[in-house]
Symmetry: D2
Subunit: 136 residues, 4 copies
Amino acid sequence: MVSHCTFALEFKVRDYECDIQGIVNNAVYQNYLEHTRHEYLCELGLDFAELHNQGIDLVVARLSMSFKTPLKSGDRFLSCLNVKKEGIKYIFDQKIYRLPDKKQCISAEVTAVAVINGKLGEAKHVSDAMERYKQT
Amino acid sequence: MVSHCTFALEFKVRDYECDIQGIVNNAVYQNYLEHTRHEYLCELGLDFAELHNQGIDLVVARLSMSFKTPLKSGDRFLSCLNVKKEGIKYIFDQKIYRLPDKKQCISAEVTAVAVINGKLGEAKHVSDAMERYKQT
Amino acid sequence: MVSHCTFALEFKVRDYECDIQGIVNNAVYQNYLEHTRHEYLCELGLDFAELHNQGIDLVVARLSMSFKTPLKSGDRFLSCLNVKKEGIKYIFDQKIYRLPDKKQCISAEVTAVAVINGKLGEAKHVSDAMERYKQT
Amino acid sequence: MVSHCTFALEFKVRDYECDIQGIVNNAVYQNYLEHTRHEYLCELGLDFAELHNQGIDLVVARLSMSFKTPLKSGDRFLSCLNVKKEGIKYIFDQKIYRLPDKKQCISAEVTAVAVINGKLGEAKHVSDAMERYKQT
């Protein structure tokens, strides 16, 4: 079952993402998770590259992933995201489900923080945008 | 202008594909071009990974690319493909256009051949499927 | 301080591994960690690709990473590995230190298991080789 | 035979660079070629990322590659580079040879130009450094 999520994005595996074992290479899931977070920012009206140019870098401080079912060449999947705030940390709960059978492939928790002009801080307009989005 | 093409696929740049210069890294265009060719095979009812398991490897023998306009974070683009046969070679004419302004980013010519059980050959059903697709 | 480790490998950052923020992209650290584990297997006289051909796939079941100091263009670093066995799991303790100042960049714990002809199991000769290597 | 070259760098294939076919993915060769050029710049006392920060971007305008022998998991190889100037273009002649048998894997010609504060131009100190290096 795909549980309720704040934001979801559909992908299709690309063959160059698969390795010798014929399955998506582990590191590529981090790419999928990152792209999902950045598209979520987009949805909030924010832009990762633009934030960087303004001196605001959203960086990953910690990440854990469980690999459950490998994705293969040709697979479609749904990448789902929920987020909560804990102090200045953004805790992303991210899951990937194969389509159409919705089998869970990956479960991940990603802790991100804002580095503002080189110092840990809170990007207030980012936090506010996340809050507003949840309420819609 | 986007000239007529046999097959086209829309993409969006992912931030991890961009490098220090803030633009899509050159090598990533090869990924885009490959994914376009493999999706084209899909459209023909063929499957790159499945062909490999049958002992038929479609491999790139030669490639040339001209880099015209760099893609950036957030850009959408169209990847267009035409193909013609020359003996046992498949010559792919591939172009990438930024959206929505259709400015040309990349022009490429990719020569692929079939290696069948380790030997250069013609994958007849691949050639036939390409021919049929053109006529539709 | 670089603590004692079973196996260590030196790398240099390649520019294509860096992203818009001018630092190594998070997902690339998984590449570094994987390459370190595979080179460690090599050192044991084992070969990841060869194992796959024999029906033995070493797969990552779980992974956690803490990102401490980002690596940048031009940085050299040391990737260190320790491993212990827990039942049929191999628990890799992996750390990356920037050179020459030995500042810690990444700390990771990677849990791998063997899938033998499609089933979880123990690859006895892999376990034995790890044990022998520790004692040398 | 490895013909005389201005600059050469030794690599080892990393397993995550290999794809479903068990060989290095075509796009990865572009990574190898880029890293070789950037290490060559290093050898000249220049730094790609630093040049970018100074407003000087060395960009690839055109590239052609012939794929001769595929590299596989575990292979070591030598990446060789020669360069000549034609007007404001730098023409890199790059070849990759498998080790230890020196079988040629890739032959490439890469045309790069300097974009200085957004405009095509000549990065005089880059050209001079290349010239001096040849004479040593």
